[in-house]
């Protein structure tokens, strides 16, 4: 009787223990050599150490690859080292920003800040006095107003690009792209020259909404266009085949199907404009007291509150106040971003 021997399955692509050991020893050697280099040459600081570490470890890996394999593999290892370096250099600032804001900001956070405004306080008063209620209310009103203006326009633009696909699709796509590149200060100047000086002659929250909506429309239009493109063509055909007009198909089938995508577009648009500062400095007036009326009177906002505390203060209290405001702003952005991820991820998976 013949017995066939089944060979044990091999997985040559998996890292063996030997490879792991050599990688670990290279890292260890790199750290050791960088310490020695730093001690010998008098380079100092984190930057000196990290750059030495990078150069040494890249060189060691390069040599090892050349020894074990060949020149091509060694060059290949260079690219992977540099790609990793690029990623690390991208990530360092964001980690530093979030860390800084949290560490410096939590001192400026207290319960009273959410129920008081700054009408009776200056930025240099003790932290416990005053608060940012007026700024929160102003930001919510202005962002809400911008949303009311931008959402219909953004969605109509997206519908034009996906449903009508007229001759002008290509130019309009370009114009939306160009609009997203309009500098925020130009948006402010535009509202000043077109509405504030000729028409209302006074700064107000509504003007802030108009300026913000110029920045918000392209974000909403592009995100909803992407979302509408994800709707399968079969749904459109099914809607028309059942006798629906295009209008009924869009209103009854396409938009409901894209609902979560449109909500994502709204959220990303809000995240885009919630921290905008330059246009609000020009057109919203920047008040210090609670104002619920967007049509008249100066209206505060979170970015203005932070801006004012940083620039007009100078004491530790003012800085703590500003960092606290930044922390609140950052928290808003995190929440909006998390929501967008959650909503768009829920359907996909």
């Amino acid at each position: 009787m013949n017995t066939t021997t089944v060979p044990t399955p091999q997985k040559p692509w998996e890292t063996t223990n030997k490879q792991r050991l050599s990688t670990a020893s290279i890292i260890f050697a790199a750290i050791l050599i960088s310490f020695i280099v730093i001690k010998l040459t008098g380079l100092d600081g984190k930057l000196g150490f990290l750059s030495t570490l990078f150069i040494v470890s890249t060189l060691l890996i390069f040599i090892q690859q050349w020894r074990l394999r060949d020149k091509a593999a060694a060059k290949d290892s260079l690219l992977s080292s540099f790609a990793l370096l690029g990623m690390i250099m991208t990530v360092i600032p964001i980690v530093s920003i979030v860390y800084t804001v949290v560490i410096k900001g939590y001192k400026g956070i207290h319960f009273g800040m959410f129920i008081n405004d700054m009408s009776l306080n200056s930025v240099n008063d003790p932290i416990k006095d005053g608060g940012l209620l007026h700024a929160l209310v102003g930001t919510i009103i202005m962002v809400g107003g911008a949303l009311v203006i931008s959402f219909p326009i953004g969605v109509l633009t997206a519908l034009y690009l996906t449903e009508i696909r007229g001759k002008l699709s290509r130019p309009i796509k370009f114009l939306v792209q160009a609009m997203s590149g309009v500098p925020s200060i130009v948006a402010g100047l535009f509202i000043l020259s077109s509405l504030v000086y000729p028409v209302t002659k006074s700064l107000s929250g509504m003007m802030g909404s108009f300026a913000l909506s110029i920045l918000m429309i392209p974000t909403i239009a592009r995100t909803s266009e992407e979302m509408l493109r994800l709707i399968p063509q079969e749904l459109r055909e099914a809607g028309v085949a059942l006798g629906g007009t295009q209008w009924r198909t869009v209103a009854g089938v396409i938009l409901p199907a894209a609902r979560s995508g449109l909500v994502t577009a709204i959220i990303l648009g809000m995240a885009r404009i919630i921290g905008e500062t330059a246009p609000l400095l020009l057109v919203s007036g920047g008040g210090d007291s609670l104002n619920f009326n967007p049509t008249s009177g100066a209206m505060g906002s979170l970015p203005y509150y932070i801006w004012k505390a940083f620039l007009t203060g100078g004491t530790d209290e003012a800085f703590a106040r500003a960092w606290g405001g930044l922390l609140v702003l950052l928290a808003f952005i995190f929440i909006l971003f998390g929501l967008a991820r959650f909503i768009s991820g829920r359907k996909g998976n």
Binding site: G45, L156, T157, Y160, A178, S193, T245, P303, L329
Partner: protein, 327 residues
């Protein structure tokens, strides 16, 4: 018994003309779709309306000149004025070129890492991190840079000056390294990295899989594959992404205003603590500007608007020519 009356319905008219409701729908959507055109047109129109007389008065000096002064006589009316944004245009270019020179290589390397090296959860996490970073407001970058980043950047500037000071670019007339165009350029680089990274990543993702696999099948290493397939395919798109970043960097207001020491003079020495850009000039001068000066600021805004529009147009052409179709 009566025979049932046969009613033959008249044949329905067959037409490709949309119904009334559809006509209204298409009209409304088309009008809405034109909004971006209308808004951009209105921006150009209103800024020109306010600023055109300044441009007409100053003629070419508005772009090349580097004076910004308003002299009022005793009664408060304007006796003499001259506006020129030359110094600020130089500053704008300087800062954004530094930003591009430093930001784009890092961003492209990062995008290569995200596309071809990172896997699974790490990749997802890093992609959302980069997206989140793109949504951070410039205010946040500005103050972080002013309080945290400035000291390290100043140290790097000193190193550059020490070892490369013989190059005229890196000279300084006085040892003031704080708040220089170099540091502002670094901050702008940090701000545009997420934008350029995500565009480059999208372009790299579109590289045809069959070409990648063909390269691997021929025995290419990752480096050889990227050089032979990904770079030729994605070059135009990446350049377009860099242009988009350039547009963003040129229009940046708050971060530059916070970091840079805005001084009204032409300064080519990137490490010296004086400079400016057009957007920060507008913000700086707006507070104390009289109606006449505001018109000049509008004209400056118009120039900035046209400049960014041009850069964005080039970026768009590049991304669409090379991005979606490949070669």
């Amino acid at each position: 018994m009566s025979t049932p009356n046969l009613v033959i319905p008249p044949p329905r008219e067959i037409t490709t003309k949309p119904r009334r409701s559809d006509q209204i729908f298409r009209g409304v959507v088309t009008v809405g779709g034109m909004a971006s055109l209308v808004i951009l047109g209105l921006i150009a129109l209103f800024l020109s309306l306010k600023g055109i007389h300044i441009l007409r008065e100053e003629k070419f000096d508005f772009i090349s000149g580097s004076k910004w002064e308003v002299i009022t006589d005793d009664s408060g009316s304007i006796a003499e004025s001259s506006f020129g944004i030359g110094a600020m245009l130089v500053g704008t270019l300087l800062c954004s070129i530094i930003a591009i020179a430093i930001g784009v290589p890092i961003a492209v390397l990062g995008a290569l890492y995200l596309t071809f090296y990172a896997k699974g959860a790490v990749k997802n996490f890093l992609v959302s991190l980069v997206d989140l970073m793109a949504a951070f407001p410039s205010l946040l970058y500005g103050f972080w840079a002013f309080f945290i980043f400035m000291s390290s950047a100043e140290y790097w500037a000193k190193l550059l000056n020490k070892y490369f000071g013989f190059i005229p670019f890196f000279e300084v007339p006085a040892p003031i390294f704080e708040r220089s165009p170099f540091i502002a350029g670094l901050v702008l680089a940090i701000m545009i990295i997420p934008i350029v990274t995500s565009i480059s990543r999208e372009i790299f993702d579109q590289t045809p899989l069959d070409r990648i696999q063909a390269a691997y099948a021929l025995g290419a290493s990752k480096l050889a594959m990227i050089r032979a397939v990904v770079i030729p395919f994605g070059r135009g798109g990446v350049i377009g992404g860099a242009m988009l970043g350039l547009g963003r960097a040129m229009g940046e207001t708050v971060a530059v205003y916070t970091v840079l020491n805005v001084v009204y003079q032409i300064n080519w020495q990137v490490l010296f603590g004086a400079g400016g850009n057009v957007a920060s000039l507008i913000l700086l001068k707006f507070g104390e500007a009289g109606p006449y000066e505001v018109d000049a600021l509008m004209a400056a805004g118009l120039i900035l608007f046209l400049l960014t529009l041009f850069v964005n147009a080039v970026a768009d052409v590049l991304i669409n020519r090379f991005g979606s179709k490949g070669r």
